[in-house]
């Protein structure tokens, strides 16, 4: 059988973090193959940190990704602390979560306004929107600035936060700074709500409507949040984080420097919508009301709902950070750091990075990393992403190839993929 069709390719998917392309091969009987080529080079983070001193490895791990460096730092530090048998005080844990939320706010704001919105408004880049959408760009910058400032104050900087160390923080901001952070978060709340309203009006393409299995971390303390020790699936299954390998299998595919993952043999999804699907009953405050009134749009069957779920989280995490700061202030003054004792051990941390479950498994021996396994949300999502790009292609392969490319890119962007993260790459 001859195939005279040329593959429809996007060499480099724009407005995502990292380098990847899409390839759609159409034959006489429709779409034959869909591949997301992950062309960013391999970075061997686990291999290069094995045998290294724990604190130095912890300084290197966040460099897997800039968009979620706080997520990598905090998850790696938690896995390391679990490995050596150290538990941070509650107030330190609260402030670490505030830092994590800074990352969440910045990352979601950047993704929604700068990477996603231009498609809907017909712009090739967000900077071109400035004249006509001054208000939206203003809100994007305000939210992004708030998130980065929270990371500056608590993490030393917005990208690669050196201030998080074993045992706590290098230094903590003063009480006045935390009170100011609370005020700024309160001022940001209406902007987060505006973002939700804006994104609730955008189209979610029915071409990709279908069943999806969602995985998310089961939050600690029964409040919608970032940290947890169990993983919950939308099929009703729940398992301790340490057992992740029994349920999730990783494998190498030849068109990608990032591995693919299957949950019980099938592709699955992680991310904001997966958190909402699994943990919506744990929401509170304004976000809970918005969820109730927009349930229809936050449905588990469409990857585009991830955009709106991120907007919902902007509202939720803004309120949540205020409460966490109050918790910390109630215990003021806070000692930034406790002495840690180096002991041998193994620790697994699973947290919710902006794009979904992030796994760090670290074995520590004689103060050095003896084993490291890191699995990132994008590596979890890649197989499912290919499924959804295929669904889009099956509906549009007869259309103008430019239109198909556009729609395929939009599917990928809805996942907010972090390609740099995905090629770090996980150990077998």
């Amino acid at each position: 059988m001859k195939n005279l069709y040329l593959p429809i390719t996007v060499d480099h998917i724009a407005r995502v973090e990292g380098k990847g392309g899409a390839e759609i091969i159409v034959g006489d009987e429709g779409v034959k193959e869909v591949r997301l080529n992950i062309i960013e080079g391999p970075r061997f983070f686990e291999a290069i940190t094995i045998g290294k001193k724990l604190d130095e490895a912890l300084a290197v791990y966040p460099r897997i990704c800039s968009f979620c460096s706080a997520a990598h730092k905090l998850t790696a530090v938690e896995a390391a602390e679990k490995a050596i048998g150290f538990e941070p005080r509650e107030e330190i844990q609260a402030l670490r979560e505030v830092l994590y939320i800074g990352d969440m706010i910045e990352s979601h704001a950047l993704h929604l306004y700068l990477l996603v919105l231009p498609d809907y408004l017909g712009y090739s880049n967000p900077l071109k929107m400035v004249d006509e959408y001054r208000k939206e760009i203003g809100i994007a910058l305000d939210l992004k600035n708030l998130g980065s400032w929270m990371m500056d104050e608590l993490g030393a900087r917005a990208i690669h936060q050196e201030n998080v160390v074993l045992g706590g923080f290098g230094k903590l901001p003063g009480r006045a700074t935390l009170e100011k952070m609370k005020r700024r978060l309160q001022e940001a709340l209406p902007k987060a709500e505006y973002t939700f309203e804006l994104f609730s009006k955008l189209e979610q393409y029915e071409e990709v409507e279908g069943p999806i299995t969602h995985l998310a971390v089961k939050p600690r303390g029964d409040l919608y949040g970032i940290y947890g020790d169990h993983i919950k699936a939308s099929d009703g299954n729940e398992f301790p984080s340490e057992d992740y390998k029994e349920h999730i299998r990783e494998f190498v595919v030849e068109h990608s420097f990032a591995k693919h993952s299957h949950y019980h043999g099938e592709p699955f999804m992680v991310g904001a919508i997966s958190r909402v699907v699994n943990n919506a009953p744990l929401l509170y405050g304004r976000a809970k009301e918005l969820y109730k009134s927009h349930r229809e749009l936050l449905r588990p069957t469409n990857p585009f709902a991830n955009n709106l779920a991120q907007a919902l989280e902007l509202v939720y995490f803004t309120e949540r950070a205020i409460d966490l700061i109050d918790e910390a202030l109630a215990k003021w003054p806070i000692r930034p750091r406790d002495e840690v004792e180096m002991r041998d051990g193994f620790g697994v941390s699973t947290t919710e990075a902006p794009r979904g479950i992030l796994v760090y498994a670290l074995q520590v021996k004689d103060g050095r990393v003896a084993y490291a396994d890191i699995i990132t949300p994008t590596a979890f999502n890649l197989a499912m992403m290919e499924v959804h790009v295929r669904m889009m292609a099956e509906k549009h392969y007869n259309d103008d190839p430019e239109r198909l490319k556009y729609l395929a890119e939009m599917v990928v962007r809805a996942y907010d993929p972090c390609i740099s993260c995905s090629v770090h790459v996980a150990r077998l």
Binding site: R43, I48, I64
Partner: protein, 264 residues
């Protein structure tokens, strides 16, 4: 008469995308727009063209695949000025930390027997393949590094490198010395300044993310001597100094010297 816009391209090799993110996050970028045309910047611009001529090419990331070797050569041909941005492009980045191990070994640890259709290679600085005209240091660079570089380019001038260490800024800020007072392996004495001693200001030892000071004034040997006196082994010293300096031609030789002296 309308001023001719300066054509800029931002290109990514293998990296965490942090340098681009730092630039994209700068509100000041909006002020640059009337004077600049973005020819290529995939992270923000869908209409990006990798093979178009530009006035300034900013490159972030280390060269980590054979495809990227070809890409940097094409960028050089198309650009008047090439700027290597951030520790990956300038020094090879943290992914060069184990550059002395074989690629096969690293590959096997991570991918096992799995094969990928692209050709990986050991991460290297951009300068190993093409001429670089200017460097912006840091992991990530500070916002003011971008402002200074772009500002000077726009007025037709040339940004200058900093030739003094983080220690200078740390002293001026009045932070306690992490190396002397706390005995931690701070790399401030050999690391290029410009961060306002950010990490020592938070009580965290410098890991050298801006790379070693240039002009042959990185005193690896005297710092190694201090580390040695504090009880670090040669391997520990090299490991720490190589996080962001694995390709520095002076490093091994100078650290080696300290340990040879003792044996004699």
């Amino acid at each position: 008469m309308e001023e001719k816009k300066i054509r800029i391209g931002f290109y990514a090799l293998t990296s965490c995308y942090g340098c681009q993110l730092q630039l994209a996050m700068m509100d000041e970028l909006l002020q640059l727009l009337p004077r600049a045309e973005i020819v290529c910047w995939y992270m923000l611009e869908r209409d990006s063209y990798e093979d178009e001529p530009v006035d300034i090419a900013f490159i972030e990331g280390s060269v980590s695949t054979e495809e990227e070797v070809e890409l940097v050569k094409r960028i050089r041909e198309n650009a008047k000025i090439v700027v290597a941005v951030g520790s990956c492009a300038v020094q090879g980045g943290v992914q060069s930390w184990e550059k002395d191990k074989s690629l096969e070994e690293l590959w096997k640890t991570v991918y096992g027997d799995g094969k990928v259709k692209f050709e990986p290679k050991m991460a290297e600085p951009v300068e190993n393949y093409i001429k670089v005209d200017y460097r912006i240091y840091g992991c990530p660079p500070e916002k003011k590094d971008f402002l200074y570089a772009i500002g000077t380019f726009l007025v037709g001038s040339w940004p200058e490198d900093i030739d003094y260490p983080v220690c200078v800024e740390c002293r001026l800020k009045g932070h306690p010395c992490i190396l002397i007072e706390k005995g931690e392996p701070c790399l401030g004495p050999i690391t290029r300044a410009g961060c306002d001693a950010r990490c020592p200001g938070f009580g965290v030892a410098c890991i050298g993310c801006r790379g070693a000071i240039g002009y042959d004034v990185a005193w690896f040997d005297s710092l190694a001597r201090t580390f040695k006196e504090k009880g670090l082994t040669k391997e520990e010293i090299l490991e720490r100094m190589k996080m962001f300096n694995a390709y520095n031609p002076k490093l091994e030789e100078m650290v080696e010297k300290i340990f040879q002296e003792v044996e004699e």
